[in-house]
Symmetry: C2
Subunit: 279 residues, 2 copies
């Protein structure tokens, strides 16, 4: 039996294996400076941090360790968002020997502390993450300040759950933390409801998710209009009006990377593996 931490790493690897996954690195498409092998090394590097989370270590410390390990390759940020989305689920699965549920994961979110928030901020020092300018008045809590923001977190008594709540309106990963991982669990159902190679099912689920909702990473990286247009084009691909392979080539060429959608698929694959999905 694979351990919870092995399933967490395998989910990261299966996510990047799925193809076509328009706009993102997959096993058939990569960028010159951000390659498939960087994602592979990122997933392997994250292992010790994933294991900490499964073993019940504090979530923030586990996240920091996972991100530091993930960053030991030259591609830069490969799975920051995926690990952040996966980690409460990994901790919940580690706590519980029964079936992993949304309530279990929410209980983990609700138990996060100010120290977890501090280590989340410190993780931004390990790797460059594309983020928006903070809203007016939020500059002291700009994640790009890394560990320098810790005194402000402590002064205001903000837990990691509080930090996520403040970003939920503009970041899809934070929104899942707040909404009890609704999209993740629905995507896990979608992966488990079909037959065939797991990586193919993951790629199909990616298209479904992206066709249903704009990707917040594309909003951050470009703007809302681009994100909405990406969703439209993905809907066309899903409905058969556009070859998904063509869309994949186009989005890579345009530098449009629906990263939050990929994060959701990775977390969904973890849930499916924990529920006993075989491959």
């Amino acid at each position: 039996m694979r351990t919870t931490a092995q399933n967490a790493e395998l989910a990261l690897l299966l996510e990047v294996t799925g193809t076509p996954k328009p706009g993102n690195v997959d096993r058939h498409r990569e960028y010159e400076d951000l390659r498939f092998e960087h994602f592979v090394a990122g997933a392997v590097g994250a292992q010790p941090g994933l294991r900490m989370a499964a073993d019940g270590d504090p979530l923030g410390e586990s996240f920091l360790r996972a991100v530091e390990g993930m960053s030991e390759q030259r591609g830069g940020n490969t799975q920051f968002g995926a690990i952040l989305l996966e980690l409460p689920l990994v901790a919940a699965a580690g706590r519980d020997e029964y079936t992993l549920t949304r309530d279990d994961a929410t209980a983990v979110v609700e138990s996060t502390t100010v120290a977890d928030a501090a280590n989340f901020y410190r993780a931004f020092e390990a790797v460059d993450v594309a983020v928006d300018e903070p809203p007016e008045g939020m500059e002291p809590l700009d994640v790009r300040r890394g560990g320098n923001a810790v005194p402000v977190l402590e002064e205001r008594g903000l837990t990691l759950a509080d930090v996520m709540e403040r970003s939920a309106d503009r970041d899809g990963v934070a929104a899942e933390w707040v909404d009890g991982f609704e999209r993740v669990f629905a995507a896990a159902d979608s992966v488990q409801d079909c037959d065939g190679p797991v990586a193919d099912r993951a790629a199909r689920t990616f298209l479904e998710l992206l066709a249903a909702e704009v990707d917040t990473f594309v909003v951050t990286q470009h703007d809302r209009a681009t994100a909405e247009e990406t969703t439209e084009r993905t809907r066309a691909a899903l409905e058969g009006d556009l070859d998904p392979e063509t869309l994949a080539d186009e989005l890579v060429a345009e530098g449009i990377n629906p990263g939050t959608t990929a994060d959701t698929v990775a977390a969904a694959l973890f849930v499916a593996l924990e529920r006993g999905m075989e491959l």
Copy 2:
């Protein structure tokens, strides 16, 4: 810093990532019942056994655990040979904080015991491995007997090194154990001597190895003539007379899998990573 066990797992993953690797599964080619994702799950599953070897646990026990973990996917034998070739190197790297050398690895081979041989035999019960009929008089030591052969091993006092020595004339992995991992270290030099994506360098090294020497797995799976012809065709690909991608398509269609050459590349990638190769 990745641990030795993480480098061992990463080497398995980078090996299968390299493309084109004529005849074998890689990230662009797979068989319907033996897919890229099976190799990914195999590498992740091997982790605990690889960690045991790096931590100094007995080699046979570590191998058995690694193979059991590798087998928790439906593709069957994905990395039996690669793990067998890698493991003495992993144990040597775990013992020594200095540079990993051929002598270190040979010292590990020479320290193997009858108990290691017994667990090696037991590992054949975890997964179907393609092997030759044993030579005349060797039937009691046929690896396909699995644990049933253990009393014979014990009676004759055969260590794992002894077992390997008896197969060295017809199995490339066993030959490396006996020859002090000469090809593995030469292949590691080859991977480290070029620039560019590591997976591309691994694929190039695969071609060089296969062009230089027949693959013993192809001999087992087909016959010597097929193995020699495969080597000829690979030489043509290396010299530019045949597109390696075409050769890859042809060998997959013909069901010719130079698995021992892939095992050598995986072990070479481990050596290169331990020596500090970055990616």
